[in-house]
């Protein structure tokens, strides 16, 4: 009798851990790049995923991190390196450029005007749409620390979290689709 109970307990545990690991209808994406075109692609896929009935979580790390800075927020109390990185890296979605056809900024300007003409949503509009659709964004704490960014200078976004690789892996291992951009 006791053996049977032990077996049932073991099976219960197994079932629970399987349920924990079984993929949800979710898209998990690493946004490593900070280029206009690549972040745009990430946001288009995330909002498309929500339209398809999935949930979506974007993990912004490394060059993706500065895209989430708020251009209107200024914070003090940084060290020399923090100030230097803050000045050199883009400040928010309006400040980023194309990964190709840079042409000293001309390519980005041309692409932006073309996007407007063709009715393709801008990066800022895509962030607003993603927020409205409930796309979650996790900012990599280590990248922020490395580049000297503070939480107070990041964008106001309803579904914003801060985390590390364990957070991403937890999300990725329970997602049907995982992408790295």
């Amino acid at each position: 009798m006791q053996q049977v109970e032990e077996k049932i307990d073991a099976l219960k545990f197994q079932l629970e851990s399987m349920q924990r690991r079984s993929p949800e209808n979710k898209l998990a994406m690493v946004v490593f790049s900070g280029d206009l075109d690549k972040v745009l692609a990430a946001l288009i896929m995330a909002s498309g995923a929500v339209a398809m009935g999935m949930s979506a979580v974007l993990f912004f790390t490394f060059w993706g991190t500065p895209v989430l800075r708020d251009k209107n927020k200024n914070v003090g109390g940084k060290d020399l390196m923090g100030n230097m990185f803050g000045a050199m890296l883009p400040k928010g979605a309006t400040d980023v450029h194309l990964s190709q056809m840079k042409m000293g900024g001309l390519g980005t300007a041309m692409m932006k005007s073309l996007m407007k003409k063709k009715n393709v949503a801008s990066l800022e509009e895509m962030f607003a749409l993603a927020e409205e659709l409930g796309v979650r964004i996790v900012i990599c704490e280590m990248s922020m620390d490395l580049m000297g960014f503070k939480r107070e200078e990041m964008i106001d976004y309803k579904h914003l979290e801060f985390g590390g690789v364990a957070k991403f892996l937890e999300e990725a291992s329970t997602s049907k689709v995982q992408l790295f951009i």
């Binding site: 398809m52 393709v120 749409l129």
Partner: protein, 80 residues
């Protein structure tokens, strides 16, 4: 064909580019009751593949697709 389809809601999505057609359709379909049909007008040629893919994934029924010049007309029944 399907002249009798009773349309509950019409979405004008002309001029909108990816991903807006499917985003707007997924919102619009929630605004009608199960069994009712919405009509969506798009001009994005990609929507010809995207809207059926969206339907297969979400389970909503693309009842009819018509094309008139640049404009594509989708008739979509909410199934759940």
């Amino acid at each position: 064909m399907n002249q009798e389809i009773k349309v509950r809601k019409t979405l004008d999505l002309k001029g909108l580019a990816c991903p807006m057609p499917v985003v707007k359709i997924s919102k619009g379909i929630k605004e009608v009751e199960v069994g009712e049909v919405i009509e969506a007008h798009t001009t994005d040629p990609g929507s010809l593949t995207d809207v059926p893919a969206w339907g297969r994934t979400t389970g909503h029924d693309i009842v009819d697709t018509r094309q008139d010049g640049e404009v594509i007309y989708f008739f979509i029944r909410r199934t759940s």
